[in-house]
Subunit: 716 residues, 2 copies
């Protein structure tokens, strides 16, 4: 059964049993039960309690075996030490779904880990799928299901949430309601003993009531599946993620929190990019950008119009839009000529349009949005300063002095304006609208906007960032359909090289063999030979073209440059002989020597692949040579990657300009770079004996990459 189908069943129970609820309102179990009842759940409800005969007005049962029917869903909020027998009893009567709020498992250490294993074993035995333990429950707005401690009673929204923190599902509900944000469905996954983050993602990906998915992540326990599932969802539904745990203390906090093993921030960065997931930096963005993507129509380009009643916020919106990749194009003269007579003399009309302190709400909410949206000159709109009753409340202490007979309610009534056409306009025109206002839902405009799915942010920069992420999602949707990388056949030459190294117990290939291996998979390497004596060297001197390089070649010699075991730019046979002798001296004993053509090029890159405990093989690509560690301009992906994904890695470098026509150098052949990266990303899957490959530097010679040095490590 797919996650989508069993989670659908779990989220739409016809009958619920709860263990841990009583008539004491200060008990957590009671709070959870009350939420279920007050949210309007209309199936059968069965409290299970050892002593009470009635709980919250419902007949209580001492044991699951006493229940009049098998409940679809069991919710557990009792202390952890009592959990297992009761859980088993539900298994015995045939309950198939459970939510385990109870904490005290994996997150608490050894005993807890063992208890969680027993729990899982029982679940497998009885075929129970469950969420938790150590979670806050779930919310399904359409089905009036709310197993958290906080009542909601609001209309369903379109934003789905999956969270490894229970707080972000439940405690934030009042916060969200004050911002007009509503879930379609929300999951607190807790310790993920059974159902995990990715199951929730898969389910919400197929859920028709969910238009965008926000995820609060402390760890991803199955990276390849996340990539697969998210990668299938993001082309048609936006996924937004906050990952916390990249820093040392953040990771420590997460570890004790849900027993999560925090991973490396840069790997998550690459994973999200690869999966088309939009990464945000705060829970506020998780909700705010999430709801903007969930509720607003898809954008068709990156041209943003700004309509403001004040220059400062207009500038801030424009500035933020451009920083995050949108255009704020000047309006055509024609459009400006239409706007000019409508707004105060000298007020800017070129985009941003600034009404200055005009209080005419028709301009701000109807006339100008209509003109701008119909112009064809922009793809999205940000409005700042649309305000009505909120502003009146603020100035009423002044106004009332002059009009003491007019009560506040009358003044507010005068400020009210029907926005029903305004709020339809983005959907009718296919032009997303986001609003910035310093007035919250006490203002009628803010309330009407939010209730119609037009997000209102309490600062101009936030509104701008939201529209920029709407544009970002448009870019994600434009990506070509991903081609799963096909693994080539093992090349006999490569297999021979690996087998020999493994046979002789080497920890690494020597450089010459490493490059032969790469060459076998089409990775360009310099012309090279190995010589074992001065005689062999002399014999070759006629067939090389100077300048050449000489390097010691031995599987146990690394960091050759630092050890003086590389001689560059040798111009003559005599020079080569001197270099050979010097290398042997420095090596201390007889070593084979590589003779290779000298590669000329000022641009140095690197590519590498290594195995991460959590992420599996990851491919790295970036700036190589001596700048590697200082720059840290390196992009990561989960391996293997297709050529298209490899090309995106190159595009993601901060210093990608280097790969273009740069100074007097030609543009680097993009397909050669992408081919190299994607080939490297496949090799350890063909030869699982390989632990790690490091190619550094890759020198750009003319317009083409050449692997100038390579290290291949073998698993022991």
């Amino acid at each position: 059964m797919t996650s989508a189908s069993f989670l659908h069943s779990l989220m739409t129970p016809q009958s619920i049993a709860i263990v841990g609820a009583s008539n004491n309102p200060m008990k957590m179990g009671t709070m959870h039960a009350l939420s279920i009842l007050n949210e309007g759940f209309n199936g059968n409800f069965y409290p299970v309690h050892p002593s009470e005969t009635s709980v919250l007005g419902y007949k209580a049962y001492a044991s699951p075996h006493d229940l009049p029917q098998t409940p679809d869903l069991a919710v557990f909020v009792l202390p952890s030490k009592h959990l297992l027998p009761l859980f088993e009893a539900f298994g015995e009567i045939g309950t198939k779904y459970a939510i385990i709020i109870t904490a005290g498992f994996k997150e608490t250490g050894e005993d807890g880990i063992r208890q969680e294993e027993e729990l899982l074993a029982l679940a497998r035995k009885y075929g129970i799928r469950f969420i938790g333990p150590n979670c806050m429950g779930v919310i399904n707005q359409k089905a009036s299901l709310n197993t958290t401690v906080v009542p909601i009673n609001a209309k369903p929204g379109k934003l789905g949430l999956i969270s490894q923190s229970g707080t972000y599902v439940a405690q934030t509900i009042p916060y969200l309601q004050k911002r007009g944000i509503h879930y379609s469905k929300a999951f607190s996954v807790g310790n993920e003993a059974d159902v995990n983050l990715i199951d929730g993602l898969e389910y919400l990906g197929e859920d028709e009531e969910t238009a965008a998915i926000s995820m609060y992540i402390e760890t991803i326990r199955d990276v390849p599946r996340f990539l697969d599932v998210a990668g299938k969802i993001t082309p048609h539904k936006p996924v937004i993620a906050q990952y916390v745990g990249g820093s040392e203390a953040g990771g420590r906090a997460g570890l004790s929190h849900t027993g999560a093993l925090a991973g490396k921030d840069y790997l998550y960065d690459g994973l999200f990019e690869q999966a088309g997931v939009i990464r945000v930096e705060s829970v506020e963005q998780l909700y705010g950008i999430g709801v903007a993507l969930a509720e607003q129509p898809r954008i068709r380009g990156n041209r943003i119009a700004i309509l403001t009643n004040s220059g400062g916020p207009g500038s801030a919106i424009a500035d933020t839009c451009e920083r995050f990749g949108c255009q704020v194009p000047p309006f055509s003269q024609g459009l400006q000529d239409q706007i000019r007579p409508l707004i105060p003399a000298h007020a800017p009309c070129g985009n941003p349009v600034d009404l200055t302190f005009s209080m005419d709400p028709n301009l701000m909410t109807d006339i100008l949005p209509e003109l701008i949206m119909k112009s064809g000159e922009v793809d999205g709109l940000v409005i700042h300063g649309a305000m009505s009753t909120g502003f009146m409340k603020a100035v009423y202490p002044n106004v009332s002095q002059l009009m003491p007979d007019v009560p506040l309610s009358d003044m507010l009534e005068q400020m009210r304006k029907d926005l029903s056409e305004t709020v339809r306009r983005p959907f009718d025109n296919g032009i997303p609208l986001v609003v910035s206002s310093f007035f919250d839902r006490e203002d009628q405009f803010t309330r009407d906007f939010e209730d119609a799915g037009i997000p209102v942010f309490d600062a101009p920069e936030k509104a701008a960032r939201a529209i920029a992420e709407i544009v970002n999602y448009h870019e994600i949707q434009k990506r070509p359909k991903p081609q799963p990388p096909v693994l080539p056949e093992a090349k006999p030459e490569a297999k021979k090289i690996i087998d020999e190294a493994v046979g002789s117990g080497q920890k690494a290939l020597d450089e010459f063999a490493a490059k032969r291996l790469l060459a076998a998979y089409g990775i360009p390497v310099p012309r090279e030979w190995v010589v074992n004596s001065l005689e062999e060297l002399n014999a070759m001197m006629d067939s090389v073209s100077f300048p050449i390089v000489l390097k010691a070649n031995h599987p146990e010699i690394m960091h050759k440059t630092e050890k003086g075991l590389v001689c560059l730019n040798i111009e003559s046979a005599e020079g080569a002989r001197r270099a050979y002798t010097a290398l042997q001296d420095r090596a201390g004993n007889q070593v084979p020597v590589i003779i290779g053509e000298m590669i000329d090029g000022e641009r140095e890159l690197l590519a590498g692949i290594a195995e991460d405990e959590q992420f599996g093989y990851c491919i790295a690509f970036g700036i190589g040579g001596i700048l590697t560690e200082a720059l840290k301009d390196i992009v990561y992906r989960v391996a293997p990657v297709s050529e298209v994904e490899a090309g995106r890695m190159a595009e993601a470098l901060r210093t990608r300009k280097l790969l273009e026509s740069y100074r007097s150098m030609p543009p680097v052949k993009k397909e050669a770079i992408a081919g190299l990266i994607s080939q490297v990303s496949r090799i350890p899957f063909i030869h699982p004996e390989i632990r790690e490959i490091d190619i550094n530097p890759i020198i750009i010679s003319g317009d083409s990459p050449l692997a100038a040095d390579a290290l291949v490590l073998i698993k022991q």
Copy 2:
């Protein structure tokens, strides 16, 4: 008179006249007048109105000449076309201060510019200092002065605000009140025809009621004065700035907004860093971080404790703290042993301390903060999840079902707790405290915290960022007292080189002369000679040590590398002769040739100085060589800079690792780098004929910088 003293007079008038107020409450002038009256201004108040005999209950006067006394301050809110004669009339009766709300001046184009010039001329003639035009007025909470359109009536805070957008002074007042943020004083400076941003800064710097200063900036019209004024304030009072206008559209918006000429973002970045100003990216941070710095005690280090009731927010705070440079150190075993028995079993106590869903408010607000603050193990504290009545309001629909006889007010009363000790604790212990809560001022804890000057942020990441900026200000305060750079005497050799170039009408020095000029000021350059013939070259060959470089040397030849006019790595006299001939061939006619020692080093930097229209001479330092444009790792400062400031520039590079012990290379001599930068930054001040200096690359040879190539442009 200093800004501080005349602005003090302007901000504490004993009598105010207002022009543009009437009895129509929908007129802006009336709104401004009502704010003045309702805020509790208790001096004499004189409406000036052409026809009304009474305005807002006060006797109105047809002309300033009719007033019974000379008002200290005149406030103008009338249409711009009527302004000048009335302004002059106030000048005639001796009024010395004015606030001009009226718009329609410089920001509207040519006519407006002329009108603003006339206004300024009148002000100079009559000795009037004024704020505006095109502003929103000022607020002085202590003096009950509020000339904006929005009433306040709240206790004074400690945050001073100066804004080039009127909105951020006035329209945000309800927003700020909902967040418990209060001004000491606030200025909307509008077009800055007379009083400008920097005057306001100077005034607030000396104002004892202002503990931190936030600035919203679209342009700085006098950069050297800003640097001087801010530089004197920031060692003892934090200054926070948002600059908007760095992007194209942001700049366009600003230009039409207050007639501001937007500047280059990276120059502002450098300026703020140089002045010790904390730059933020949003107006929310301007207020939130501003109030945290204004109200909380100074921090003594960067070690932060986190106390939370939920793992997710705890992780987010830890992660954000570390990203922004704080430590979140694990607590000692001793401290953990004290905390362990107080919190739920298995709950993390190592920092973050996670109470899980414990609702015991004493732990969160008293017992644990006291233990942690007294431990000596941390310098600051962030609390998430302290909540009382707000949470009860959220769950009351559930609770009331079980306790239908207990009204909400009783339940809220039970949740209330006296926080008077809690809110004193940060001040008593010298440990700043910031709070994250999803509950706003409807929660008693949030309200009590905010009212006592403990900022409450509505997301964990924001609280973490605020404490990180408190730490950042601590770092700013630790800076050594800045030494104004002393200009050295002009060196005769340098003067001769410049004079000759100017005399012969050159646009640039040739490379050899450029390096001689630099060498005259102690900047290390390679050993070099110039030869004008093969004979001269031959004569030298005995005195050079190979390898050498040859370069064409002519003031009109630039981009020599691209033109093939540089020959590197020449190993022999014969090679030098070949190179000489080749250079002459490529140059097309006879050119002098530099012979120089070949500088060996893989680290390449750049330094340069050029004049910016707005910023004056700015010094740049960063990564040079072929990576210059791709990396853009360049730091800017307003010139000249001291050695200390130059050292900070080097520290500010993203790739500063390169200057440390790096791979097998030694650490670069810091004082040599700092000396080079600061010397370059002084040269155009000694020789004002110089338009620009570019030294690229500076090659690090061993541990020392050498100016390997240099360009000096002469003003025409």
